[in-house]
């Protein structure tokens, strides 16, 4: 394998990995703050992309305002979901809530599938993707945008959790809801805002993905990869989600060179299982102290 090919694969791996990272980040955020695995997350990615599509098709918005509108509307949708579905089920066993979020996500997908029946759609005016050439290598600038956004978001979330009162409140709620309530934190508000933020992040991921893959109903399947990435990184760690995503992308790219078609996935799974056997709580996860 020549150096040029290795580098090109490296770039490809980081590129797809950055998308996984961005989606995984939103997933880990909700889990960290609420303890709930939000299976509607993938469909929020799809929803965000479609809202951008509708905004441009029916209202003539160009890409930047369409993106903004879509992210805000998705955040609203996330908030709505928390208020109408997650909150009432707060006392239910965790599996029930997870399946409930899944049902919500699938319902969103079903509605989208029936209301827009193009196989593949394009949001007009998306960033031109003439590739940047660096010697024999080529990089699609959109991926650079995605990587940059992922790291910026990660940094912002880090600062947010450490220094803002809302961020600290979220951490408190994620550790112990009852105690948080006792010190006067409005737990309901925090939960709603967490879901809203996560949904907004998912929408952003979908809209950043749209110029690369187009808008289509099955975009949400990326959540499976994001889940793997988040778990690989250690589910309670936000940086872990990002690192997990990037590593997953790299594993896919390099396994893809040696293994073809479906066997490539076998290679990726093999690596994943080895990683989890070596570090059963993911790369950055902390093993919870188990109270006996």
């Amino acid at each position: 394998m020549s150096i040029a090919i290795a580098f090109q694969l490296f770039i490809a791996g980081l590129s797809t990995g950055s998308i996984y990272a961005l989606v995984a980040l939103g997933l880990a955020l909700v889990f960290k703050a609420t303890g709930i695995l939000n299976f509607a997350h993938g469909e929020f990615v799809t929803l965000g992309a479609y809202l951008g599509l509708f905004a441009s098709y029916y209202f003539g918005l160009t890409y930047p305002p369409a993106l903004l509108v879509a992210v805000l509307l998705s955040a609203l949708a996330g908030l709505l979901m928390e208020w109408s579905v997650v909150r009432p089920l707060i006392t239910a066993p965790p599996f029930t809530v997870v399946i409930a979020t899944l049902a919500v996500g699938l319902s969103v997908k079903n509605i989208l599938r029936l209301s827009w029946q193009e196989n593949l759609s394009t949001i007009p005016g998306t960033i031109s993707h003439a590739p940047i050439a660096i010697g024999p290598l080529s990089v699609n600038p959109q991926y650079l945008v995605v990587i940059a956004v992922s790291f910026v978001l990660l940094g912002m979330l880090g600062l947010f959790f450490k220094f803002t009162s809302l961020g600290i409140a979220m951490r408190a709620v994620s550790e112990d809801q009852r105690a948080a309530r006792l010190v006067g934190i409005n737990v309901e508000l925090v939960l709603m805002l967490t879901f809203a933020t996560s949904a907004g992040m998912a929408a952003l991921a979908g809209l950043l993905l749209a110029p690369l893959t187009g808008v289509h109903i099955e975009m949400g399947w990326i959540v499976v990869k994001a889940l793997v990435a988040a778990v690989l990184g250690g589910f309670t760690s936000l940086p872990g989600a990002v690192v997990g995503g990037l590593l997953l992308g790299l594993a896919e790219a390099f396994c893809g060179l040696f293994l073809d078609g479906v066997t490539r996935d076998l290679g990726v799974f093999g690596l994943l299982i080895i990683a989890l056997l070596v570090r059963p709580h993911g790369l950055f996860g902390r093993s919870e102290a188990r109270r006996v």
Binding site: L102, S107, F235
Partner: protein, 337 residues
Amino acid sequence: MACLAAPRRGVSERATEQALTFLLAATVAVGVALPFFVHSYLLQMASFALVNVIVAIGLTVLIGQAGQVSLASPSFVAIGAYLVTHLTKVLGLSYWVAMPLSGIGAAAFGAVLGFPALRVRGFYLAIVSLAFLQTTSILIETLQTYTGGVRGISVPRPTIFGSRLTNFDFYFVVLAVTVILFAVARNVSRSPLGRSFRAVHASENVAASQGADVARVKMIAFVFSSFYAGIAGALFAPLIGFIDPLEFGLVTAIHHIVFIIVGGLGSVPGAVYGALTMGVIGELTNGFKEYKELIFNLALLAVLFVIPRGLSGIAASLVKFARRRRGPSAEQTVREV
């Protein structure tokens, strides 16, 4: 071994117990009478629902009782289905021999999944099981000569004394197997093994300190549930007559999980009624054609709202309600303190 000992049962619990036994008996009676009243197609759907019941029973023991999260149930159904197809179609074995063999084959693979489970827990185990699920799919597609690959493979109906089983006949086969497997699972749940499942679920350290071999218990749980799934697969294949990898993916895994959540995690009777309920809802919503998925998902959401703890949760709530009305008994007070 105090906490692994059988719990004493209070009066209200015994009453609910009797009600449940009556319900189960009534269900079996309806099951036996059904073929005389419905169309061939509905009978096939009923058989399919029973196959799902078998999967659900095994899965609720694994996830609900032993606490081992697994998304790989369709893999074992697949192994059972493809094994029975190969054994009967290619090797010419009698179905009645091939069917239990396929269950055992699936169980053996269940042990394979059990190994990582010894080290990994919770979400991480779920991801490992997901990897197992996808790997099985890949293997089905690549081992084309045995499985027919993505194209699928047709499965003949078994014969008995030379004549092919009809929908009518095969339904009774499926019903009989379901009832037997249900009884076994119920007994296991109440046996010391069942209690050790729940002990391991509650706290591995405590269970270990009480003398349970945690690794062995987990392994048994995997083998048990994959045996059930394998038998279900061995029934599914000739029932539908055609199998392909699409039937055994993540979407199916989620359906299985929904069965046991609607039924109530860990409850064997719950698994029965959870699977049957979702089957009925599925049939009822068919008329909505392209809206079926949406209506089905909304119906599922409604079910989860109304009974977040599942159908067995209703039973538990009834017990609580009855207890509150009756007031605590002496043994109750002692136990709860």
